[in-house]
């Protein structure tokens, strides 16, 4: 570059362009969140003001209070928490076993990867009706506890858990397991006392990912828990029936777990999400 001033000018332009792009992305991402937050504290009447207000003229906490006061909402929050927790634990435990098998045997690896990808490619909702029939026949369709849905969500989340954990099991040297075997440990014992503790960071990540997966899941939740609803379908009903205020408050509350996760394990999550994407 024989003219340094010209090079600087191009650099400045690039800098400005990058800044503008960042600003655009930031606004595009936060504007809906802002509107949601605004709606959740705007009184019912003002919600449908025309032209819409950018800033609420009056503030209220009524919508948040109603989320906890209305019985239906409160039980949905508890049910969602329960379903997400149970399904995350089941999926992580079974996913860990699958991932361990995939990490240790080439046969299991082949079968595992094709099954996991197969399940992910399958249009899930296509199996909804047979699934509903099976759940009904064992008597766990639309129960207040939501156990049927928890099992369905666990099944959905196993591939995610397995892919998250696969890399960390591969990283555990086989020698350590062999040493434990010679020391007299059974295979299950080795899995529980050697492998799981050594993969604990990934286990935590898998638990959280599976939790969020269930927490957000809409399709099966709508079908399997027709009357004893979890949060996503409930939110949907609130929205379509025009309860915009409580729906907004609920939507904000639903984001809490996701926000916590991103703040708490941002860096390690990035690794876990890409792990398994290229084996």
């Amino acid at each position: 570059m024989n003219n340094p001033a010209r090079g600087d000018r191009i650099g400045d332009l690039l800098q400005a362009a990058r800044f503008a792009l960042n600003a655009f992305v930031l606004i595009a991402a936060t504007l809906p969140l802002y509107l949601l937050a605004k709606q959740s504290v705007t009184p019912e009447l003002e919600t449908f003001a025309w032209p819409p207000h950018w800033m609420p003229h009056h503030l209220t906490l009524a919508h948040f209070i109603s989320v906890f006061a209305v019985n239906e909402l409160r039980s949905a929050v508890l049910r969602s928490l329960g379903v997400a927790t149970i399904s995350a634990v089941i999926a992580t435990l079974l996913g860990a076993m699958l991932a361990h098998a995939m990490a240790r045997s080439s046969f299991a690896q082949g079968v595992g990867f094709s099954t996991v990808s197969g399940i992910r490619l399958l249009p899930m909702i296509a199996v909804a009706i047979p699934l509903g029939i099976i759940l009904a026949s064992v008597g766990i369709y639309d129960t207040p506890s939501g156990i049927g849905l928890a099992i369905v969500h666990a099944a959905l989340a196993i591939p995610t858990a397995a892919l998250t954990l696969y890399a960390s099991f591969v990283a555990i040297p086989l020698e350590i397991e062999e040493a434990a075997w010679i020391d007299g440990a059974s295979p299950l014992r080795i899995f529980l006392t050697i492998d799981l503790p050594l993969a604990r960071a990934s286990i935590a990540t898998a638990l959280i990912l599976c939790f969020i997966l269930s927490w957000d899941e809409f399709g099966f939740a709508l079908l399997v828990q027709q009357t004893n609803r979890t949060l996503p379908p409930l939110l949907y009903y609130y929205t379509v029936f025009g309860n915009v205020g409580p729906a907004s408050a609920l939507a904000l509350l639903m984001m809490i777990p996701a926000v916590c996760v991103v703040v708490a394990l941002g860096p390690s999550l990035r690794g876990a999400l890409t792990a398994g994407s290229s084996r």
Binding site: P173, E175, I176, E178, A179, A180, W181, I182, D183, G184, A185, R189, I194, P197, L198
Partner: protein
Amino acid sequence: MDDLVLRSLTRSFPSGGGVFDISLTVQSGEFLVLLGPSGCGKTTLLRLIAGLEFPDSGEIQIGEANEASNKTHRESIAMVFQNFALYPHMTLFQNIAFPLKLRHVAREETERRVKESAAKAGLTVDLKRFPRELSGGERQRVALARALVREPEIILMDEALASLDAQLRASLRLELKEFQRRTGRTFVYVTHDQVEALALADRLVVMRKGRVEQVGGPQEIFDCPQSEFVGTFVGNPPMNVFLAEKASTSGSLTVNGVDFKIKPPEGSPAEIRVGIRPNDLSTEEGQGRGSIEVVVGSVEFSGATYIVYAKLGDSPICTELPRRVEVGARLKLFFDTARVHLFDPSTGKRLEPA
């Protein structure tokens, strides 16, 4: 304690490796070393003994076959892995106590036995620490203590010193031998390092391509190699080997026209491989000694001696001399004809001179 008996053990891998038809008896309390180049099957053999691999055929037996023994195979054997395979998430105490915990040994006894075997293994660090905080040598001691804590009859070691630096390796080698004498356990030790093997072994098993080449004491292996492979593999610098012809007049062996004054056995092939160790060649003259004349190519100083690389005619030859010689000098070397090894060129087996 009981002997470990291997009967025509075979385990082959699709890659072509493995071990083939190995029969061996390891005496109780003996330090047995499996030696061979990488890929010779020594680790496979050790893993078969450990029970980490299963033989295609043959059997492994500890103790008398008809003796009612309630100890299982795994119970009699402990193993120290190449990278020690300590449990990284456990403290040293938990590492050493792990085999006892699996056997539901009471707390006080666990504590006593862990301390005891840590002391036997020469472990002086705080047992509340974690493996990652230790140096390689200390980790090795932890692995030994863990192997010892449940009082196995046989301790297997797979290249257990290979990942340590040279100085530490030498001092631990000495200690290991001490340790074995003190505990009276049977050791089966795998290594590709012939110096280590000669230093440690009561008995050596030299392996090649999945088969046993020779079994014997270190001195016997060194002095009387049963094949050219054993002769050249054991010993450093390696044995010089030449192709010799039978001289038509005297009937003795000649290399590049130089008479070695050794008669080959009756009915041996026309050409014979002749081996002589570098330290069996010297500049001192003597009665009844053979002699050769060489041209010095290069000289290496090894501390106590000089390693001289020379040419005998067209063949390279190596010798160890106590004093420096000039590069390019002509040198007369003498050797004891009894220290010359003869090998069949087609089978590689040892031949005894006539």
